[in-house]
Every structure is written in C-alpha cells, then in structure tokens.
C-alpha cells in the first residue's frame, strides 16, 4: 500500500474545486487544458477563469480520472492557482504541488506532473499558443497512465 500523507487523503476524500466553470462575467475568459486519456488510465481536465485585464486566475476547477494521488494533486493544483497571475502560475512546478500535499510517494510523483502539464495546456490556450502534440512524441512511453515520455519527465521532474 502506498504511504499517502493525511493531506493527500484529505484532498482525495474531500477534493476542493471539482467540476467545470459554467459562469463568467464580462472581461473574464474561461479556458480548459487537458492531458491524458482513458487509454492511459489517467486524465485531467483543468478549467481556469482568468481576469482579462489583470491576468489573475479567479477560479480553477478540475475533472480527474485517475488514482488517489492524481485526484489529490489536481485538487491541490486548483487551490494553488487561485489568485495567481498567469505568469506566476506558469512558474508553478509539480514539486510544489507535491509539497503542498506534504509529499507523494516517489513512484507517484508523476501524478503531479499531470497537473503541471494541464496547467501549461490551459495557459497556452489562453495565450493562443499552439500546443505541442503528444502523439508524435518519439520517446518511450514510461507511464502507461498518461502517455508522457521519459524525456518529458526528465524535463519536468529534474
């Protein structure tokens, strides 16, 4: 059995900010970033509501298909994002997500990587930057869970 911290379990059993964002006002933009697939066994859809003038993230919500640490990491991510500007958010690392939860088992660190990836995707969408496609990524698939490659993990974790 994995050794999850109490905070991981708390965020798994009582996740904050689950679901989608349905309402927005004038001057607010809602974007979505998505990673993973049902084939991989893990997927995260991250929804952000951003103030178009200040670039501050007003709301963040998530939908996750995955293990307990994937659900907890997604929820932790949304908590960390609220109130940050887009540029501050881009500097957020998966380590910070894990630290927010009091740590993750080493084998489960990649679950937090998914959060960082979805965040990148959402912000790129917000900025209108085309997304790098995963399908033609040449590295070997190390985590069948969400189709990230080892080169990508190295880039992100280390």
């Amino acid at each position: 059995m994995w050794e999850y911290t109490d905070k991981v379990m708390e965020f798994f059993y009582n996740p904050r900010n689950q679901g989608v964002i349905t309402e927005k006002k004038e001057g607010e933009k809602v974007v979505t970033g998505e990673v993973g697939s049902i084939a991989c066994g893990d997927a995260l859809r991250l929804h952000l509501k951003v103030d178009e003038v200040t670039s501050v993230i007003l709301d963040a919500r998530f939908q996750t298909f995955g293990c307990a640490s994937a659900i907890a990491s997604s929820s932790a991510l949304t908590e960390l994002l609220k109130g940050k500007t887009i540029d501050e958010a881009l500097r957020l690392t998966n380590r910070e997500i894990a630290e927010y939860l009091g740590g993750l088992p080493e084998e489960k660190m990649h679950c937090s990587v998914m959060g960082q990836e979805a965040l990148e995707a959402a912000i790129f969408t917000y900025k209108g930057i085309p997304l790098e496609s995963h399908e033609d990524d040449e590295g070997t698939l190390v985590c069948k869970c969400f189709g990230i490659t080892d080169s990508r993990i190295r880039r992100i974790i280390i």
């Binding site: 379990m9 798994f12 059993y13 996740p15 689950q18 679901g19 998505e34 697939s37 049902i38 084939a39 066994g41 893990d42 997927a43 995260l44 859809r45 939908q63 996750t64 298909f65 995955g66 293990c67 307990a68 640490s69 994937a70 659900i71 084998e107 489960k108 985590c143 069948k144 869970c145």
Partner: protein
C-alpha cells in the same frame, strides 16, 4: 484496529482458529528439530507426518507425493525448474498469458536463458483455445504449466483436457492450483497432473508455508539444495508450525468443500445486485467457468485505486489489478490479455469471499458502493454520454 469487511481472500486469508490451535504447541513446547536423534525431535517428526497425510487427503494423493515449500511462489519455481532439469534436452515450455508472476516472470527469465516459451492467449472471457495449445505442443515441449483458476478473475481452465494433450506429446504437466485448492475438489488419483502447487495462506493457514504435489515416478530435481529433508526433494529445516497448520487447514478445507455453495450464493448476490443498481458495470471473466468465491467487476470511467481507497474508508477490503495499486504501475496483465476496453481495464475491482463472509457484510458493501462510484464518476472527465 477496527473490524473490517474482508473481501480480499484471493490475496490472503485469515488463519482459522482451529489451525492456530493446532500449530501453537509447535511454537511453544514442541520446538525440536524433526531430523534430530532424540524423542523430543521425534515427536515433531510425527506431527509433520500427520500433516502430510492431511494435505495428501485433500488432493487425493499419496503421502509421499507431498513436498513442503515456503509459499506458492516457491512451489511454482520448484516445479518448473524440476521439470526442466529432469529433461535437459527439451527446450520448449507452454504456459498462458494470464499466469501468476511466479510462473510468468520465471518463464520470461528462462527465455533469456535459451528456452522458447509459448504464452497461450485468452479470449474476452479469459479462456484459452485448446486448438492453439494443440498446435504448439511438440516433442521438444518439456513442460505445460497452466493455472487451475485465475487469481484475478477466478476463471477456471479445463485442466484435464489440457493435461491430456500434454501427456499425449510426452510433456510434463504442472498446475498452479494456488487459487483452486479448497474451493473446488481435486483428485490426483484420476488426474493428468504431474506437479501441482498450493499455498497455505490462501486456505486459512498462515503465510510462509505451501506444498508441492509431485506425482510418484515423476523425474524431479530439487530447487532448494542442502540437507536431506523431504527425502532430498526440499532442503532446509522444516517449518514445523507452518506444516502442522497447513495440515489442519487442508483437513478443514476438505470438510468445507460441501458448503462452497453458500459462498457462491453470496458472491452471486453481490455481483447481480451491483450490476442491477450501478450503471456501466460489467463482470470480467467467463460467467460460469469460474471459482465460486471470486467476482471481478469493471466500473467504467473511474480508476481502481480510487475505488479501493474509498472502500477502505468504510472498512471494506478488496483489491484491483489496475495501474497505480500494485507497485508496478501497470494495469493488470490478466485483464489486458483478455482485451478489455480501457474504460473497464482501469476501473476493475476484485471481490473475493471466504467461508467467513456473511450476508450482513455483503449488504453493507451494497449500501456504500453506489455512493462511492457516483462520487468518483462525478469527479471524472469521462462518462457514458
């Protein structure tokens, strides 16, 4: 520790109170070494003999055909290595894609060492194709090693038909019966099986003891080399308390075989109610050719570990072969071999009952499960629509 509803009996079982009682004297006053030359050790040797008779009786075997091991994994390793060492000129093994890692990983290692291995495929219900088996056996086949019942789905293979094909071509026949023993009745007297593995902790004996059935006359080479214990077939000081426990557990299992129907009724009730009240659920594995105690259910669009931990919060123990849970981060090789869709693969849970399981426990599971599944599906980005 709070009480738990234990539906993970294919992983390990509770030690029966009568089993504990039988073994306790060998953890206290009767601590002698059965190989010793004094009465004190001799008494212990007698207890080992009785246990051997009890295990032999459960299998319809001769006493001399039973060799003690430390676990099911050792039995599988010993059987396969023995069969190969006894026939050094034959270099082909046939097994299935859904074996336990104790067989599968050993076969993979043997491939690196020059053996060729055929892994029989299974269909969507977890069954092998006998024609594929027949086509792959040759005079070079040293061993056919097939499990009696699958640990994840409970699916039963047609052992005697497989054994007949193996025997016709002169191959030895090993059966990993770790999950079958005690759940269905076996009789070595009328069987084609040469070598059969069982493990104590799956039949209410403690962990750390198992046995290997070796048909009289079968060529055998010991796996564990050393002293003369077990008439040279397994060296090492005998785990006497474990052996006595396994003997008693075998006797209890034998007398319990007639009541397995009750376990099956509870299993069927659990399974059918889940299918009826929770949408997007399926049973994995052949509906009938299955152990009476096992139910593997796919809950679409959600992930197994999340289900297990939610059940755990309600004190319910089950297991899953999904990614994320097993330490391997790979979804179950059994369910993958069956070609199940991804939506099912990642969200499958195994409930495995025992003679201790009660109606009240099953009712409690059925009470909390729908809410758990609903909650996780509400978190998921996928759904049936």
């Amino acid at each position: 520790m709070r009480d738990c509803i234990y539906l993970d009996n294919n992983a390990t079982t509770k030690v029966d109170e009568e089993v504990l009682e039988a073994m306790l004297p060998y953890l206290t006053q009767y601590y002698g070494n059965p190989s010793s030359m004094h009465t004190f050790g001799g008494q212990v040797a007698k207890a080992v003999k009785t246990a051997r008779e009890q295990v032999a009786s459960l299998l319809g075997a001769l006493d001399s055909e039973i060799v003690w091991t430390s676990c099911g994994t050792e039995g599988d390793n010993a059987a396969i290595r023995a069969a190969l060492a006894a026939q050094p000129n034959k270099r082909h093994i046939i097994t299935t894609a859904v074996e336990h890692p104790a067989v599968l990983n050993l076969c993979k290692l043997l491939e690196k060492q020059g053996y060729s291995v055929t892994y029989l495929s299974v269909n969507g219900e977890g069954l092998v194709d006998l024609a594929e088996l027949e086509a792959s056996i040759t005079g070079n086949t040293a061993l056919v090693s097939v499990m009696y019942a699958n640990n994840e789905t409970g699916v039963l293979f047609p052992i005697e038909r497989i054994g007949s094909l193996a025997k016709e071509r002169g191959a030895l026949f090993h059966v990993d019966a770790v999950q079958a023993v005690g759940k269905i009745s076996l009789d070595m007297k009328t069987s084609t099986i040469d070598l059969l593995t069982l493990s104590g902790h799956k039949i209410h004996a403690p962990k750390g003891i198992g046995a290997l059935y070796v048909r009289k006359g079968t060529l055998f080479r010991p796996f564990m080399i050393g002293g003369h214990q077990e008439r040279g077939r397994r060296a090492g000081t005998e785990n006497v308390p474990g052996i006595v426990a396994l003997g008693k557990a075998a006797a209890l299992a034998e007398s319990h075989l007639g009541n397995v129907g009750r376990e099956q009724q509870l299993r069927d009730y659990l399974e059918q109610t889940i299918l009826a009240i929770i949408p997007d659920t399926v049973v994995n594995g052949h509906p009938l050719q299955r152990l009476p105690n096992t139910s593997n259910i796919g809950f679409k669009y959600i992930e197994g570990e999340a289900i297990l931990l939610s059940l755990d919060k309600h004190g319910i123990c089950a297991s899953s072969g999904s990614a994320c849970t097993s330490g391997s981060l790979e979804p179950s090789h059994v369910l993958r071999s069956m070609g199940l869709p991804y939506s099912v693969l990642h969200g499958s849970i195994r409930f495995s009952l025992s003679r201790y399981t009660t109606q009240g426990e099953i009712d409690r599971v059925l009470e909390v499960l729908p809410t758990i599944i609903d909650r996780l599906r509400a978190l998921s980005p996928f759904s049936s629509d």
